[in-house]
Symmetry: C2
């Protein structure tokens, strides 16, 4: 599933947003928690099943509104292997529902280790004369601090599987500048990372929209940098965190899109899956609340972006 496929899904729903599936237990509605703890106990199994039910309900509610989901691996790992099992289930279900799945793993390692990550998350692992496809996401996030050696194995896997990846370039958090904004002569670290992203992606451009298989993560909280990177990296698809809770607005994120209103997807996590906390109904309405929040975000962005 290349960025061509993602752009098509965005176009079909006229919605360039991705819903984070980052559920911590504290964000799961009480009635789901209660039911799962009663059935499985207050343990890893009960917790994982609660997250599974919540994710499933969210995806049922978001179908037809949001083109993509982004499970954040950390929250599943925090429940150990039982969390990972639910992550596998979540990705499988998302794909059945037609969502484009970005596994937010931010892995960064080299050589055969990076290959193992790529196989586990995007491709297949050889087992004797069989193969298994453990997580099988459409796309992953990757950390490039270790350089090309950390990205190439993922890219090779993406080319083989017709999938894609995002490299962290300029992240949305307050301290991102400590390293990413270091100025070396006329070069800045995050721009060098952006240029590397473009270089790595060369030759992998999709036939329909022209985006390479190597996208970039660029935070909505740094709109000037976002705008500049958009101009600099014309074949690069952007994943934009930082909208909503972190302070990025629809006006900020419009700079992520090219003149056709393409080339970017904006993430919202808590704003969607935790919308139920603001309706005063104890989470019984988490599905309606999530869908309404997703529609509101879509409409907010559409004020500034017309997708051609």
């Amino acid at each position: 599933m290349s960025f061509d496929v993602l752009q098509d899904k965005i176009k079909a729903l006229k919605n360039p947003t991705v819903a984070g599936l980052d559920a911590r237990l504290s964000h799961v509605p009480p009635h789901i928690l209660k039911a799962c703890f009663a059935e499985y106990g207050e343990n890893a199994k009960g917790a994982a099943e609660a997250i599974w039910r919540f994710n499933q309900g969210l995806m049922d509610a978001l179908e037809g509104v949001v083109p993509a989901v982004k499970p954040q691996a950390a929250y599943y790992e925090a429940l150990g292997w039982q969390g990972m099992e639910v992550l596998e289930r979540t990705i499988r279900y998302a794909k059945e529902k037609g969502f484009f799945v970005i596994a937010d793993i931010k892995r960064g390692d080299i050589g055969s280790t990076a290959t193992a990550y790529a196989e586990g998350w995007l491709g297949e692992t050889k087992v004797g004369n069989s193969v298994i496809r453990p997580f099988d996401a459409d796309c992953v996030t990757v950390n490039g601090y270790m350089g090309s050696d950390a990205v190439k194995p993922f890219l090779d896997c993406c080319i083989a599987e017709d999938k894609c990846l995002f490299v962290l370039v300029k992240t949305s958090n307050p301290s991102s500048g400590e390293l990413q904004d270091m100025v070396a002569g006329d070069r800045v670290v995050y721009k060098v990372m952006g240029d590397l992203t473009q270089r790595w992606g060369k030759g992998t451009e999709g036939s329909k929209y022209g985006y390479s298989a190597v996208g970039a993560v660029v935070g909505a909280t740094y709109p000037a940098e976002l705008r500049e990177l958009r101009k600099r990296l014309e074949n690069t698809f952007f994943l934009v965190p930082g909208y909503g809770a972190q302070g990025g607005t629809a006006e900020d994120v419009r700079y992520a899109f090219d003149r056709f209103g393409r080339g970017a997807i904006i993430n919202s996590s808590r704003g969607i899956f935790y919308a139920w906390s603001k309706t005063g109904k104890d989470g019984m309405d988490y599905q309606e609340a999530a869908r309404a929040a997703a529609e509101k975000m879509r409409d907010d962005i559409r004020q500034y972006v017309t997708i051609l």
Copy 2:
């Protein structure tokens, strides 16, 4: 388990090395694979059980020689949740045997996401009125490209649990310089990362040897940088990859140690667990081969380093 504990374990065995537990199926002796495939099938379960048996055998063989083990998460993730279950078992077994466990996860994310990683890998996750301790390693590796926001949640967890972490500073791979060697005025990216490591660790120094809870990953393949960083970061414990297969020698790695022969641990992965491939005995002798390789590496390094 702080770096004080690790240094004591190193001292007791007079061996400043850590054995990587990075087993890909292609490195598991054929007789183990055959038995597990016969019992569980050529599937994720069969593969995971083969790795479990291999790991267990390796740890039995390395007990009393090597003070620490370093499972690389990638190879377990490549088998999906069943791999993660075996990783939990591997860490539990390693701790029972008295090994110091460094989970090589190279995670790097921010805020509540980084907290979730830290809870999952080092601490505990709250589930209703209970807590679970999924992976419960003694130490992890962390990627600091996102800045302090990515490291602080791990550090907070380390302080609460009396554990420690390693931040990637100057990695051992050929392309590490693409970003890490960028020169900004009189500053170089990897040195800035090193200085940040020192700053983050301030106030967490162990009472016995004085190392802070924030260590640094510095590759053996860049001995000049290793030497310089050792002088620059005197309270920082080093994890040094790149010995052996990647080209780092015992002569190179001696620069990682301070004048007491302390403050560093040298990793070897394939050189130990895949030693059986060089004896011509089809892997039946993988335990003896691993132990002999670990002893050889220890003796090689002891030619240059005296641990006081």
